[in-house]
């Protein structure tokens, strides 16, 4: 079984699906000859040809609109935005067309497209290359919104996203693209798109997160464990549709919940989870829900980006506040 990192998990899944299904095509800027700016599509054009691994002109709206047209006519496009900060021009095509193609035609036309992008901060990138914009998409009905946070989950979730009959926004936390390697079998086994993953069992406090913050949250759980506090860590992975039941089951056990995400605090998806806890789990909670999020500021340039991103100390402090209350 090969040892691969997260981005190699992406490449492996793309190659697997392209070999399995001739309808799968990859399109984006520099995805072909160059193999992608992060090398996610490396080797694919040599293997599958320029007609299926398509270098497009430099226009994200074009990439998204072509993907909608391809998907509606029987193809399975995987469209790449080089960075999540360049997805804004795609949103009209995604929200106005991809997300509602099926329902507005009563199922006559569908849009089985994947819109994938490297996501989030922490790699000393230029401006507009470090955004956490998942909550812009979770409020659009008709989409699935997925963020992978390990090599194995990148492989299995991307396979599922490509096979899904509806449009999927697929984010890849670029900060942990090459964080570590793990064994991933190229067995074509997809992971479910409607479950959270419990990464660590615990009974004192539930830490809920997604994307690159999985790294800090697991480290925070280690720090808490050193003090005898056992934190349960949940990687939400698929934000939409949300598997709230897994989060609720954990909170029934721990009675305390900290939500960690790097997107800005106000309107971040943590607010949705907190609201559901208030609606469905209020009497299970022994302490107010804590949120550790990015600040409500535009993502700063990289000198300050690590001050913007949630870190282990903030997560540990929030967990301790939750444990001290009630």
């Amino acid at each position: 079984m090969p040892q691969i990192n997260l981005i190699e998990g992406i490449t492996l899944a793309l190659a697997h699906e392209m070999a399995r299904d001739p309808a799968v095509v990859v399109l984006g800027e520099d995805v072909g000859v160059n193999g992608g700016v992060f090398r996610a599509t490396v080797g694919l054009q040599q293997k599958f040809g320029a007609e299926r691994v398509i270098d497009t002109p430099l226009d994200e709206a074009m990439i998204a609109g072509l993907a909608v047209g391809l998907a509606a006519q029987g193809m399975r496009p995987v469209a790449e935005a080089q960075f999540e900060g360049f997805m804004y021009p795609m949103i009209d095509q995604i929200a106005s067309h991809a997300a509602r193609m099926r329902t507005r035609t009563r199922g006559r036309l569908t849009c089985p497209a994947v819109f994938r992008a490297p996501w989030g901060g922490g790699i000393h990138a230029p401006e507009h290359h470090s955004e956490a914009i998942e909550a812009l998409f979770t409020n659009i009905a008709g989409l699935r919104v997925v963020i992978a946070s390990s090599p194995g989950r990148a492989y299995g979730l991307l396979l599922a996203a490509i096979r899904d009959p509806d449009p999927v926004i697929f984010f890849e936390p670029k900060r942990i693209y090459r964080q570590y390697k793990e064994d991933v079998a190229d067995d074509g086994e997809a992971l479910p798109l409607d479950v959270c993953f419990v990464l660590r069992d615990g009974w004192d406090v539930t830490l809920v997160t997604w994307g690159a913050q999985v790294k800090e949250t697991l480290e925070a759980a280690d720090a808490l464990a050193a003090e005898g506090i056992r934190a349960e860590v949940i990687d939400v992975a698929t934000l939409k549709p949300l598997d709230f039941d897994t989060i609720h089951e954990s909170v029934k056990k721990t009675h305390r919940c900290v939500i960690v995400h790097e997107a800005p605090y106000t309107g971040g998806f943590g607010g949705e989870i907190a609201a559901r806890l208030a609606e469905h789990a209020l009497y299970d909670l022994h302490a107010p829900v804590e949120r550790v999020a990015g600040y409500d500021v535009p993502m700063p340039l990289y000198k300050l980006e690590m001050n913007y991103l949630p870190n282990v100390a903030r997560i540990v402090a929030a967990a301790k506040r939750a444990l001290a209350a009630g």
Partner: protein
């Protein structure tokens, strides 16, 4: 100084305002009486439908409706130029083309009557539904054309877009993709002179809209969109090129929106009566009728009978529309995803319980 590149835009017209055939080089289609009469009848049918749809809205039986008055030649020519296997990506007043593709008038009315089932129409299942956000449909057609090219299918995708739509990036992106990938794509700009209240001259300083295709490196032509013969010739040429692998084309059809933008608009606020009166002199049905009558191919009696028949047919469609019951409340949920997520199952049950009272 030397010239790096130079271009010109041809203007195509065969039938002038009075219905006189111009020049010596008239195409064979100009003598194809049967095809011309068929097209003429469809143009009349479209206009009768349009008038009755507006009346339905005025009497509170239809929501906001977008009229196609004055653009019948452009749309009917598009409908007859495409084959069933081709893909049509319309905007939202393309009925004259869609009726030929099997879309029923009752389905047009259902859509404007607030019911998505109108988009699940009887036309080819692969055709795109009406597109409201402006110009985005051009990229859907380009994507469809890219699919045909990848699968090596001899099919063509055709999108229509308004004059205002040519200001949007999606329009340029689509024709640019058409050029860069040599796609089997035809984009028809229905230049009806107005984007709601903004006249064509305020939309761009470009002398023609056709020349925007030059920047994309595709074959581009300006056509009298009220001249059915010219539209037929331009479309036939562009579609044949596309089908035989010679790439994308742009056709600017110069026409005039004789109606308001939609029934929610009042065009008297932004254009003069004199201008509209002059535009009626150039409208497409009158000129084709004059041409057909000049060839003794269409009589006043046939005209009267056909208009009565159109009224009967449209009335039957209106009855069918009015008799269509509202969809069940669950319909808004059932096609959101292929499989309903748990959240939506709960919301669906809630909506159903509320609807039952």
């Amino acid at each position: 100084m030397s010239i790096a590149a130079s271009f010109e835009i041809e203007y195509l017209q065969y039938l002038d305002e009075s219905g006189t055939l111009l020049g010596e080089d008239a195409p064979a289609f100009a003598r194809d009486v049967r095809a011309l009469v068929d097209a003429y009848k469809l143009m009349c049918f479209t206009r009768v439908f349009d008038g009755k749809a507006i009346a339905l809205q005025r009497t509170g039986k239809l929501g906001t409706y977008a009229s196609c008055l004055g653009m019948e030649a452009t749309y009917v020519a598009i409908g007859s130029a495409l084959t069933e296997d081709d893909v049509f990506a319309p905007f939202y007043r393309d009925y004259g083309a869609q009726f030929q593709r099997g879309v029923k008038p009752r389905e047009v009315l259902l859509y404007w009557g607030g019911d998505e089932r109108g988009n699940d129409f009887s036309g080819p299942a692969h055709d795109f539904a009406w597109c409201v956000p402006i110009a985005t449909q051009c990229l859907h057609a380009a994507g469809a054309a890219l699919a045909f090219k990848i699968r090596k299918e001899p099919r063509v995708a055709l999108a229509t877009v308004g004059d205002g739509g040519t200001s949007k990036g999606d329009f340029y992106a689509a024709i640019n993709a058409g050029g860069a990938f040599a796609l089997p794509l035809v984009v028809v700009v229905v230049n009806n002179q107005y984007a709601i209240s903004i006249p064509r001259a305020q939309q761009t300083a470009a002398k023609t809209l056709a020349q925007k295709g030059i920047a994309a490196g595709i074959e581009s032509v300006q056509v009298d969109g009220n001249d059915l013969v010219a539209m037929h010739v331009a479309l036939d040429h562009a579609i044949k090129r596309a089908r035989h692998g010679h790439g994308a084309s742009l056709i600017e059809a110069v026409t005039y929106r004789l109606s308001d933008h939609t029934t929610a608009d009042d065009a008297r606020r932004y254009r003069s009566e004199d201008e509209v009166t002059a535009a009626w002199e150039r409208e497409p049905i009158k000129r084709l009728r004059a041409y057909l009558q000049g060839m003794n191919a269409w009589t006043d009696a046939e005209e009267k009978d056909w208009l009565a028949e159109c009224a009967r047919r449209v009335d039957a469609e209106i009855d069918a529309y009015l008799e269509t019951r509202a969809p069940p409340v669950t319909a808004m949920f059932d096609h959101t995803y292929a499989e309903l997520p748990l959240d939506l199952e709960r919301q669906r049950a809630d909506a159903l319980a509320t609807a039952k009272g």
